[in-house]
Symmetry: C2
């Protein structure tokens, strides 16, 4: 597939509503359950996506577009949300994510990016040279990865309850050491 | 977690709206893309979930509740949807899934299942003895597994576009031989 900005924005704009349909008002054991120590619950995933809106995607896009003296990205803190959201409700996180995402996509559209701009480089702390196009494609794939993770972590709360069916449900067994 | 019927119905009722938020109106390459030969696209996943509504979960629940001369389930056809839905639009499948799921959950609620009924056995063609409780828990986990699969298969359409980031996106690499 060739990168298409409008198509990618159309995926990105869906994530808040998709998470809301799946999670808003869901029972606490399903929202807070994890896949094991140091892994993300559904709640943590939403917090992590909020961190991305505030500190990752658009911040890095701006560094690339500026093409200043340094195009190197700051490292990204994957557990910022843990202290930030202590005591918060999932409903408030879903609202916040929706607002932040909408604002970011409005800004992204307002840039009216050209192909030449999408080709501009940045420097990732561990991956090296990347382009703005790759950053935006990664934003989309990252969203979908966390939607898959949210679905999987909720499914895993049913691992005991499904009994012998566990053998036929790869979502319960395909990630013996889940990454969060 | 201990099986809770109301909590499980609350997950099951969300799936049509979650898939609608994620998929309805999405660009065709994302709806029709797969993870390789003989694997399900997002479109195929919705068709497979429809098959489940028509031929799997409630049919098997009825066999268990009847406790007739045979409690053995008929084998389940995982590719029924391929011929059934040729030429259909995704929008029509999403509508159909929503209607079928709502009707099935209304019937399920109307049964007002007791703990004793949830303990009743059926015989799975390959797994052997299972209970109604396990069947209903599996229905939930199966939904979430396919939601994870839909997210993953759409993400994988971005595998080339993310460039070096593929190393940091397990959703793109964790299933080298995906099961559909």
């Amino acid at each position: 597939m060739t990168f298409d900005l409008e198509r990618s924005i159309d995926v990105l704009r869906r994530t808040p509503a998709t998470l809301r349909a799946l999670l808003d008002g869901l029972d606490e054991p399903l929202i807070r359950g994890t896949e094991g120590p140091e892994t993300f619950s559904a709640f943590d995933n939403v917090g992590h996506l909020i961190d991305g809106e505030e500190t990752d995607w658009m911040a890095r896009a701006r560094i690339i577009l500026a093409q200043g003296p340094s195009i190197r990205f700051a490292p990204y803190d994957r557990v910022r949300h843990r202290t930030r959201n202590a005591g918060r409700t999932l409903a408030s996180l879903l609202d916040e994510f929706e607002r932040l995402r909408a604002a970011n996509l409005e800004t992204l559209r307002s840039w009216q990016l050209t192909d030449a701009q999408l080709d501009l480089p940045g420097e990732h702390p561990s991956l090296g040279r990347v382009t703005l196009r790759q950053l935006l494609a990664t934003w989309v794939a990252h969203d979908l990865g966390h939607l898959a993770q949210v679905s999987r972590v909720i499914a895993k709360q049913y691992t005991e309850e499904v009994g012998p069916w566990v053998q036929l449900l790869p979502v319960l067994t395909d990630h013996p050491a889940p990454r969060s």
